[in-house]
């Protein structure tokens, strides 16, 4: 058994005289706020603040990246970053309750201490998207890094860098939409085209779309011109039926951007868990164009 009381070491260490960072060591964070997002309570948003000064700067990220949430004694899970780099002082993640770690996390309280390790992965291609029309297509709870992207693009410092922004976002019912207040607020703005939809609802006051995401995409998405890019995140079934619609609208496969999820452990390209062919989803992804995915085995 390893002695428990050893001196707390710094996160930096020396290899060949060079100081290196232990990339497996999470930053300690405190849960600052927990928001229940959906009526079935299966999704909660966790807002974290870093315990150590300086860690927030070390965690500088781009929309589309993810992190490993670490709970001592339970393990780590990869979760997309839902806050935007333009939001300072905290990081946010929205988590679906499904297994061991996510269930424990759902039972944690504001004030509890845990860890965040990252940021990881490549992010959406922001350099490429500059000066372009951006069409965001999301379904279900895969809207987290899309929220990050929308908040990033709508920030006064950034909005002028993009042309038209369209968002098509669907959930089963109004109560299952993530970030509902923000969605409604964006729908009132004139610098973003919101197309919110639900599979069905009895609510007589529902003033947005009804129907599945692929159908709404067909009605509302702009045509696939050379300077229009689509970012698509959602359940496999949604992606399967949205792709032919985008093909029909004229989007090239290099203009369709997707974010993958595979089982992960290290998140930094070392443990070998997440590969699709020679690509590692954690390090070379999770964001790929459809053109890139056409060249890899379909192991996701």
């Amino acid at each position: 058994m390893i002695p428990r009381h050893v001196a707390v070491q710094s996160r930096r260490d020396r290899i060949k005289g060079v100081i290196v960072h232990n990339p497996y060591l999470p930053y300690p964070v405190r849960i600052d706020e927990i928001t229940v997002e959906t009526e079935d309570k299966s999704l909660k948003t966790f807002k974290f603040v870093f315990l150590n000064p300086g860690d927030e700067d070390n965690f500088a990220y781009r929309a589309g990246q993810f992190a490993e949430l670490s709970i001592a004694g339970l393990g780590e899970i990869p979760i997309g970053i839902a806050s935007s780099p333009t939001e300072k002082g905290f990081v946010k993640f929205t988590v679906f309750k499904t297994g061991k770690v996510t269930s424990y996390l759902h039972a944690m309280k504001e004030g509890d201490v845990m860890g965040v390790r990252g940021p990881m992965g490549n992010s959406y291609p922001w350099d490429l998207l500059e000066g372009k029309n951006v069409v965001i297509i999301g379904g279900g709870f895969a809207f987290t890094t899309l929220r990050s992207s929308i908040v990033h693009m709508l920030h006064p410092d950034n909005r002028s860098k993009f042309k038209d922004i369209h968002v098509i976002y669907g959930a089963r019912s109004p109560g299952m939409l993530l970030y509902k207040d923000e969605l409604m607020a964006w729908a009132e703005r004139d610098d973003i085209h919101m197309h919110i939809t639900v599979d069905g609802t009895d609510d007589p006051d529902w003033k947005y779309h009804k129907g599945f995401v692929p159908a709404i995409t067909e009605q509302e998405a702009p045509p696939g011109t050379a300077d229009t890019y689509a970012i698509v995140c959602g359940p496999p079934i949604m992606i399967k039926f949205t792709q032919p619609v985008l093909d029909k609208l004229g989007y090239g496969h290099d203009q369709i951007i997707m974010s993958l999820e595979n089982r992960m452990k290290c998140g930094i390209g070392i443990c070998g868990h997440c590969n699709i062919g020679k690509e590692l989803v954690c390090k070379d992804g999770p964001v790929f164009t459809l053109e890139e995915l056409n060249k890899t085995p379909k192991e996701y």
Partner: protein
């Protein structure tokens, strides 16, 4: 490079001197098989061996290792905050590692030591270790190192290579670490004309290697064509596999790991444990979806990784040193040599392999 001569009768005394500065690790025989162990004071490594049953991977990368520890005592100021445990950083020397296992360290280093991320556990162990290898004068029948990325006298990743020459070893010192170890052991006697002798022994050993693989066409093959060669390669090869994971655990060039937290009373540990792509859990999502849900998909992953993905990604040859362990230990005779030759000779036009053995 300098060659010295070490009489077999001097070896023990030299190792005795090394005990002060190094933790010594060497092959010992237990329950009928050789394995690498830390030697007790005065214990001799058994250099009269073919190869260890499991590879030397665990010397730098233990099968199960503590990454972090933490307190789960709420009264503790450091409650739930991970910290690195103190690790043994003492210099160590492996006496009698075979060239293929040392070359395997170079293969896996490309994974653990990348421009973006450094694995501190592997790298610190690697730096603390001096490798005193033992050239193979009588290779096993299942070895094919000469056509993989190694050879019976390959010392490109050794600090010192010992060559058995009757009543003495010829020792070729390749690095500064090797110089230091030889000096500490008091092994200094120059061996005149030894390079020629080593070259002769090397050629003789290479001539004894009975099997070889062809890898020349692997890089040219299309990744997707090989992946899709189900009927010609993957289904027949996977047919008998029981997904036991023996091949991956015995292999010196496999590196995959799982991370698990373990708790014990009010203390906890984040551990990493070797994992295997042969296990269904390796790629299972929380939703129940498994991108490699069939054993055919998992067998394909193992061989595609070693013989195609690695080849394309690093452009440094295959991820296999030809040690032959997986060939010897597979309970159903799945043979990487045959699979490699099939992949190398696969013709997507006819969906068949020109070489099938």
């Amino acid at each position: 490079m300098k060659v010295i001569q070490i009489d077999k009768s001097e070896l023990e005394a030299g190792l005795g001197k090394l005990e002060k500065a190094f933790r010594l690790i060497g092959p010992v025989k237990e329950k009928g098989y050789h394995l690498f162990k830390t030697l007790d004071s005065g214990q001799k490594p058994d250099l009269d061996y073919m190869n260890t049953r499991l590879s030397a991977r665990s010397i730098l990368y233990p099968q199960s290792e503590v990454m972090f520890e933490f307190s789960l005592d709420k009264a503790d100021e450091q409650y739930a905050i991970l910290r690195e445990p103190e690790k043994d950083s003492q210099p160590r020397a492996v006496i009698g590692i075979r060239p293929c296992d040392a070359d395997a360290y170079a293969v896996v280093r490309r994974n653990f030591d990348t421009p973006e991320y450094k694995d501190p556990y592997w790298l610190k162990n690697f730096e603390a270790t001096t490798l005193v290898g033992l050239a193979c004068s009588t290779p096993c029948p299942t070895c094919f190192c000469t056509s993989a990325v190694s050879g019976p006298f390959s010392d490109k990743n050794l600090d010192i290579m010992l060559v058995d020459n009757g009543d003495h070893y010829l020792a070729r010192i390749a690095t500064e670490k090797g110089e230091k170890l030889a000096a500490d052991a008091g092994w200094q006697r120059p061996a005149e004309g030894a390079e020629n002798r080593i070259e002769d022994l090397k050629l003789a050993a290479e001539a004894k290697i009975q099997s070889e693989i062809s890898t020349d066409n692997l890089a040219n093959q299309s990744l997707n064509d090989l992946y899709e060669a189900e009927a010609a390669i993957w289904e027949p090869e996977a047919f008998a596999c029981i997904n036991c994971g023996t091949c991956t655990h015995a292999c010196p060039t496999c590196w995959c790991f799982d991370v698990q937290d373990e708790t014990y009373g009010k203390s906890g540990f984040r551990m990493r444990n070797w994992d295997s792509c042969m296990y269904p859990l390796f790629s299972l999502h929380a939703s129940g979806h498994n991108p490699r849900g069939t054993k055919t998909a998992r067998v394909r992953q193992r061989f595609m990784h070693k013989l195609k993905y690695y080849v394309d990604k690093f452009e440094q040859g295959i991820q296999c040193t030809g040690c032959g362990r997986c060939v010897r230990l597979c309970p159903v005779n799945i043979d990487i040599r045959r699979i490699c030759n099939k992949m190398n000779s696969y013709d997507p036009e006819t969906c068949s392999c020109a070489v099938t053995s």
